[in-house]
Symmetry: C2
Subunit: 88 residues, 2 copies
């Protein structure tokens, strides 16, 4: 019971964490201080956490990473797209 609760709180926090970052970028169109390398590693890492969660049959890990992949990939795409516009 405690384990699932800890995992769920952790999942909610780290999953929801990237949404305000994605929203901030959408609003400000500013990606200057965002690290491309971070979101490349983060997005691929989340895919591996997802596989890991499925293999372990651990619901918090599966739910967290299927949601987290959304803002992570949005930030990655915006960094690539908006980052290139700045260079023109």
């Amino acid at each position: 019971m405690i384990v699932t609760m800890m995992g769920t709180i952790a999942a909610v926090l780290t999953t929801s964490a990237m949404f305000p970052q994605a929203i901030r970028i959408i609003k400000t169109r500013d990606v200057h201080s965002i690290s491309l390398l971070m979101y490349l590693a983060n997005t691929f890492g989340i895919v591996f956490w997802l596989i890991y969660g499925v293999l372990l049959q651990e619901l918090p890990i599966i739910v967290a990473n299927s949601i987290a992949i959304i803002p992570a990939s949005v930030i990655l795409i915006l960094k690539i797209v908006l980052g290139r516009n700045v260079k023109k």
Copy 2:
């Protein structure tokens, strides 16, 4: 064997992901596009993942989050400190 490998790759990627972001901020002193809310949620979330990993006795989760807490809290502190300087 496969499970631990997946967890280890995921841990390495998501743990190392935040280091380039911390380094970028240290170099550029620019935190404008960084979301404070993200790193508040992220840092607390990592603490809960750490507790979760310990309860589950899952080494990849324990190792990943004891390392990840370092860049996460560095970015959080820099966002607070450098973010305030901008407002002055």
